[in-house]
């Protein structure tokens, strides 16, 4: 019994470090087999020049079911997040740029999302991005906005 209590206490001490990324519902989406999806995974030295340590993206042709599934998970994860910018169309999330609470090392965490199927004339793609790094939102916009 004492052994189990000690093990549990040690696990509670360690787990917050492990859960910085793994507690998010959107992580399930990056592991899913979604037909026609394009997935990108970059971490470590590959993206240090962007002041990022982790970049994961998922781009998929939307069906209503897929987009609702993705939206449900995003809404759960961004409940307590700071919303830099978002737009809804007919009650659905069209796009959102969210910043989650930083982890213990002060690393910023972001969820970016866009559902192009909700506006006429756009392609039918949904794009979901999760990032961690020291870059702030201004730096990210400056680096990646198309000119």
């Amino acid at each position: 019994m004492a052994q189990r209590v000690i093990l549990l206490a040690l696990w509670l001490l360690v787990s917050p470090m492990l859960l910085a990324q793994t507690d998010l519902k959107i992580n399930e989406l990056f592991d899913m087999e979604l037909k026609g999806a394009i997935k990108v995974h970059l971490s470590g030295a590959s993206i240090e020049t962007y002041h990022l340590s982790l970049f994961k993206s998922l781009t998929v042709q939307t069906s209503d079911k897929t987009s609702l599934m993705i939206e449900a998970r995003i809404e759960k994860d961004v409940k307590d997040a700071f919303c830099h910018e978002s737009n809804h169309t007919n009650g659905r999330l069209y796009y959102g740029l969210y910043q989650l609470s930083s982890n213990k090392k002060g690393i910023n965490r972001y969820i970016f999302y866009r559902n192009n199927a909700l506006k006429k004339g756009n392609d039918n793609n949904i794009t979901l991005i999760y990032m961690e790094g020291r870059a702030d939102i201004k730096q990210l916009r400056k680096t990646f906005t198309k000119h």
Partner: protein, 163 residues
């Protein structure tokens, strides 16, 4: 074990699948759903879509045990699993405690990874992967303000053409 699924109507599983899509299922419910999908009752073609989403392949069905095989020695099995789980937990904690100490000064906690998946292919060429990364970032950072600006530009362009 097969009888368990008969007690749950198809309606139960349909509701659970819908709750899964809405991110409302608990871990236990997801485990239960995955187990059902690998059973004989879950082989119906109506479940093909959820199986595809949950990443199932045909070999998952072979892992589903028969009732007779699992009833024998289940007590012994549980004891062994508990012992192995305890040892694994100790080893994991020791690993992370030591690893955290060693890695705490590193600026990045993640290994170097550079990979993409598109059209069923793995892409490891750095330039290609970075190009896909930039494309996806650009597609989400086009905001309403930028869109209005682009619409204005297009409007002005067409006005000029018609003059």
């Amino acid at each position: 074990m097969n009888n368990t699924y008969h007690t749950y109507e198809a309606e139960y599983w349909d509701r659970l699948i819908e709750r899964y899509y809405n991110a409302e299922t608990t871990e236990e419910e997801e485990r239960s759903l995955k187990h059902f999908l690998t059973s004989k009752e879950g082989s119906d073609s109506r479940y093909d879509e959820i199986k595809a989403v949950m990443g199932f392949i045909a070999t998952g069905k072979r892992q589903h045990c028969s009732t007779k095989d699992t009833e024998k020695g289940i007590g012994r099995q549980r004891y062994l699993y508990a012992k192995i789980a305890g040892m694994a937990a100790c080893a994991t904690m020791a690993y992370f405690l030591i690893g955290h100490t060693l890695l705490s000064s590193r600026p990045t906690e993640y290994p170097d990874v550079c990979i993409a998946y598109a059209d069923g292919k793995h892409i490891t060429d750095r330039n290609e992967v970075l190009s896909l990364m930039k494309k996806s970032m650009q597609s989400v950072t086009v905001t309403e303000e930028n869109e209005k600006h682009m619409e204005e530009q297009l409007h002005n362009m067409f006005n000029t053409l018609s003059e």
